[in-house]
């Protein structure tokens, strides 16, 4: 097995590739380049609670669950599950698509049977649910905000790196808009919210979205929306 490249230099090179191609696999290269090769601390944290322990024991592969259309169709309007279904349909994305991007970036075996590998797959698979929970879209800034939020939740340095890059690019195009503030607020929202990797996603999907946001302490994305509104006339003109 080839040893993956690490370090800031590799992260910067991967970022260059990401900008050139827009391929999501480079995001995984960045998080890996800035990650440690220690076991994921999130897995150990999961085991500190009875629910987390059960999730680890059941070790459901969420990618398969989220790819199950019949299962997704079962959620009532207004629930997290329904919002997720609408989100992936509207954006024409899927959990499998994200999984595939990570597998193309991976050096090792993607279906590696190890609890830590399972945890890594799970962290990846819940990314789009976090879009739904936080209210950040799949536009560049929305992604920047979700990764800033995720950095607060997971401590994965590569995510902070991407978030800062997104804010910097935004600021270059429109110096009058608060890009850094939007990303910073997303980070703070991630800090304040409950620890989302410890959620039971199958159960969460059946919960009304607003109730779930309240229970998990996820604050609304005000600054992000303010920037989107500033762009709205431009987008309307382009359409």
């Amino acid at each position: 097995m080839e040893e993956p490249k690490r370090g800031l230099g590799e992260a910067i090179r991967a970022l260059g590739r990401l900008r050139a191609t827009g391929d999501t696999k480079h995001v995984f290269e960045i998080t890996r380049a800035l990650g440690s090769n220690k076991p994921p601390s999130g897995y150990a944290r999961l085991l500190t609670t009875p629910q987390g322990g059960r999730l680890a024991y059941e070790r459901v592969e969420l990618c398969q669950r989220f790819g199950d259309d019949a299962w997704l169709a079962s959620f009532a309007p207004g629930t997290v599950g329904a919002a997720y279904r609408d989100f992936i349909t509207r954006n024409n994305i899927s959990a499998a698509g994200l999984a595939e991007a990570s597998e193309r970036a991976a050096v090792g075996q993607p279906q590696y049977k190890h609890p830590h590998a399972w945890y890594g797959r799970r962290s990846r698979d819940i990314h789009d649910v976090w879009h739904v929970l936080t209210g950040y879209g799949t536009d560049g800034l929305g992604e920047g905000c979700v990764v800033a939020f995720s950095y607060a939740q997971t401590g994965s340095l590569g995510l902070a790196f991407i978030a800062l890059h997104v804010a910097r690019i935004g600021k270059k195009t429109r110096p009058d808009l608060p890009f850094f503030a939007a990303v910073w607020r997303a980070y703070l929202a991630g800090r304040r919210a409950s620890w989302l990797p410890g959620e039971d996603y199958e159960r969460l999907f059946a919960e009304p979205l607003e109730a779930a946001r309240q229970r998990l302490g996820i604050s609304p994305p005000d600054t992000y929306r303010q920037i989107l509104r500033a762009f709205a006339p431009q987008m309307a003109a382009a359409a």
Binding site: P39, A44, L47, T48, T49, P50, Q51, G52, G53, R54, A56, Y57, E58, R59, Y112, K113, H114, P115, H116, A117, W118, S194, G198, D200, R203
Partner: protein
């Protein structure tokens, strides 16, 4: 009972750090040393003194690719070891065949041991949690370790095996039983303590047995398995005559 289980399944409250309960452990040890068949007291001692050892064994399992695969597949050995057809299939000379003959002559069963572990355990034994799974695994492999170590089910054999198990798992409950047995037998006319100490040293020298793939191990020849796992002969235990290996309050002139 049912409601309590449901609550636990969804609880996101951190579990308290397990505290060592020496008083309860000594009480149970006293009962055990007077009756080596009082297996429930063994579990009582384990619960009292386990501390973080089960967790540590689980985390140790994750440090190797094979261990990680086993943790991911998390086989429940109790069910497997209760499958008579499966047990019958082991070829002579294998670990599995020796295990089968052992539990049948001794009239033991993985399920019987599991049942005893559930007594007084307040539902913790069967929790769906990787640490609880490791606890069950440690319990279920005990009789296989009798085979691998060569220690029989007499009092001395059990004492040697708990010392061996302490070396393997770091669970203080095992250490307490081993030390208790060594102290109890110190006035005996045989070098019991030395045999028990050798059990500890053999456990230290051997490979991490909780990280073994037991389906594969049971199909391996016993001698080859011992060599591969660096399990040395139980010379000090064997040197003590079989009739002197067992003890009970009546046989042994020892203060209670």
């Amino acid at each position: 009972m049912t409601t309590a289980v449901v609550d636990v399944r969804y609880s996101t409250q951190p579990m308290p750090k397990p505290a060592l309960q020496w008083r309860a452990a000594f009480r149970a040890l006293k009962r055990l040393l007077n009756d080596k068949e009082a297996t429930d007291q063994v579990f009582e001692i384990m619960r009292a003194l386990n501390g973080t050892s089960t967790r540590d064994c689980y985390l140790k399992l994750l440090t190797t690719p094979q261990g990680g695969r086993i943790a991911y597949e998390r086989p429940e050995l109790e069910e497997k070891l209760m499958d008579d057809a499966w047990l019958d299939a082991f070829a002579p000379g294998t670990v599995g065949a020796a295990y089968r003959d052992f539990i049948r002559t001794e009239q033991l069963s993985a399920e019987g041991l599991a049942e005893i572990s559930r007594e007084g355990a307040q539902g913790g034994v069967d929790l769906q949690h990787p640490y609880a799974w490791m606890g069950r695994r440690t319990r279920d492999v005990h009789d296989i370790w009798h085979i691998l170590s060569g220690y029989h089910r007499d009092g001395l054999g059990e004492a040697c095996l708990v010392a061996f198990s302490y070396a393997q798992t770091g669970g203080l409950g095992w250490a307490l039983i081993g030390v208790g047995a060594a102290i109890r037998t110190r006035k005996g006319d045989q070098p019991y303590a030395k045999a028990i100490w050798q059990g500890y040293k053999r456990g230290k020298a051997a490979a991490f047995l909780l990280g073994e793939d037991y389906e594969r191990l049971l199909n391996e020849s016993l001698e080859a398995a011992r060599e591969r796992l660096n399990i040395t002969p139980a010379t000090r235990y064997i040197a003590i005559p079989a009739e002197a290996r067992d003890w009970s309050p009546e046989q042994m002139p020892m203060a209670a």
